[in-house]
Amino acid sequence: MRLSQAWIVARHDLGMIRRRRTILGALIALPAGVSLGFPLLVWYIIAQSPGVGDAVIISFVDAFAFWFAIGGVMLPSSISAYSIVGEKTEKSLEPLLATPTTDGEILLGKVLAAFLPTMIAIWAGAAVYMVLIDEITRGTLGYLYYPNAAIVVLLFALAPIVAVLAIEISVAVSSRVQDVRSAQQISGVLFLPFILLYVAAEIQVFPLDTDHLLLLAGILGLVALVTFRICRRVFDRETILTRWK
């Protein structure tokens, strides 16, 4: 596997993504919404309920931060759906496969093109979120809540694993659909379990502390490994040329 060859594919796809306003908009809007909107909500809660307990504030802050993991599902799905199904609809996969680039290098390039902007957007949004939350909660909590172990796990283990899983599912789905929107919609199904987890966190059923986040990351990491095998089988040049519909 030559990383430089994969990087040529990724660089090209990143250039294509830059031209897609809807994708760029999603990359900016979701992290910006989470990093600005939720701290505003926390500020409002504290302002409106002066006697609110630390535990309640922390549960809100943790649950809101979980949206950065949900972003790990939503953002790469739309990018990778475009970068693979887009090639399919433009029928540009065959010329690409005819170059001296291995299937693995092409796949890695596509994964990087979806993964890198997603993680940059999530990390940038999370940095703003942490600064604002610290600023808003310092007076009430009496200490800086961020950075902490849970957010490190969320941003550097869970979100990347979730992003990779979303991309893998998108690749698998891409072999069966004819247009980008269908790919995005089907890949978006992955979004639902995360919303359920978010709701569970909000109602204190599944606390999003370090231990639970690590457990979740571990389980999803295993799922991602299994999905990777499916993905490699689907993204095989003979399969693409003869079986992709």
């Binding site: 060859q5 250039g15 029928k91 065959e94």
Partner: protein, 310 residues
């Protein structure tokens, strides 16, 4: 440049290409003719190691297909124009070529020069920065051909290069292929445009899952029609036929209205004898024509009857 031996591809129970044995020489333009579903595209995909073979062997540009260690080197040495141009519509012509050149590991300066040379040859240099989406079908096809050539391959596979093009665009693409032929490039041309094959190709092969025949267009036409001379005459038909047999020996002569159709073995030698026999038998010769089948006749006969030319 290409040598295949019993090359076969099956998709489940369906045989797409059946025991293809073929040779294409360096510098040759080889036309691969056949109806839709005959296995032409599958053959190109096997020869360019895009898909695996079921059985048989093939050597392309010195590399055995199916050898994983040689696959990438092989793809460095060949250029492919697939049936669908598959360009990135929102990218410019230059960007499309640059991307493929980079994937082919062409050094930056050489790549810039190659792109400029190709786009100038194709009259697209002035439009190099325009998105491909704004191009006509013919222009897109030219960009796709340039993409196949950007790394200066030794062998070019062109799959239906003029399919779905209007006559003017087809002519432009054909002229470019002829330009490549003048550069002595080896070209493997899939087409079902017989006229195109006849005008461009040194040799053609007719495929209908199995290879039906190969040869130069001239050889195939001759093989199918045989060598026959039609003499339009006035006079006693039977007497003239007998006079021709007396001069040329016993042979098949058909009398159709005012014409004698004579089987000949060497037209240059036999036709003057036929003319002399007719005049000698008291006939008047109005016209003497060498019969030849068109490549279309040959193709249709071979495809529909599965016959081999004589």
């Amino acid at each position: 440049m290409i040598h295949t031996e019993g090359l076969t591809k099956q998709f489940g129970p369906v045989t797409a290409v059946d025991h293809l044995t073929l040779d294409v020489q360096e510098g040759e333009v080889f036309g691969f003719l056949g109806p839709n579903g005959a296995g032409k595209t599958t053959t190109v995909r096997m020869l360019s190691s895009l898909i695996s073979r079921t059985s048989g062997s093939a050597e392309v540009a010195g590399h055995q297909i199916g050898d994983p260690s040689a696959e990438l080197q092989l793809r460095h040495q060949i250029g492919i124009l697939p049936e669908n141009v598959g360009l990135y519509e929102s990218s410019s012509a230059y960007e499309n070529l640059e991307y493929y050149g980079q994937l082919q590991r062409v050094e930056a300066t050489a790549l810039r020069q190659s792109i400029e040379r190709l786009l100038r040859m194709l009259d697209l240099w002035e439009k190099r920065d325009q998105p491909v989406a704004t191009f006509s079908k013919g222009m897109k096809q030219k960009v796709a051909i340039a993409r196949a050539l950007v790394h200066d391959p030794v062998l070019l596979f062109l799959d239906e290069p003029t399919a779905n093009l209007d006559p003017e665009a087809s002519k432009t693409v054909r002229e470019f292929i002829l330009e490549l032929k003048r550069e002595r490039r080896t070209i493997f041309l899939n087409t079902h445009h017989l006229d195109e094959a006849e005008r461009i190709c040194d040799r053609v092969g007719i495929l209908n899952t199995r290879l039906v025949t190969t040869g130069t267009p001239g050889q195939l036409k001759l093989g199918m029609s045989g060598r026959r001379t039609v003499a339009a005459v006035d006079g006693p038909m039977e007497t003239m036929a007998a006079a021709i047999r007396a001069r040329l020996g016993d042979r098949r002569i058909e009398i159709q209205g005012g014409s004698l159709i004579v089987d000949v073995s060497d037209p240059d030698r036999d036709n003057p004898e036929i003319a002399a026999a007719i005049v000698g038998a008291g006939g008047r010769l109005r016209q003497l024509t060498q019969v030849s089948a068109s490549l279309e006749d040959v193709y249709l006969k071979l495809i529909h009857e599965g016959a081999s030319p004589a």
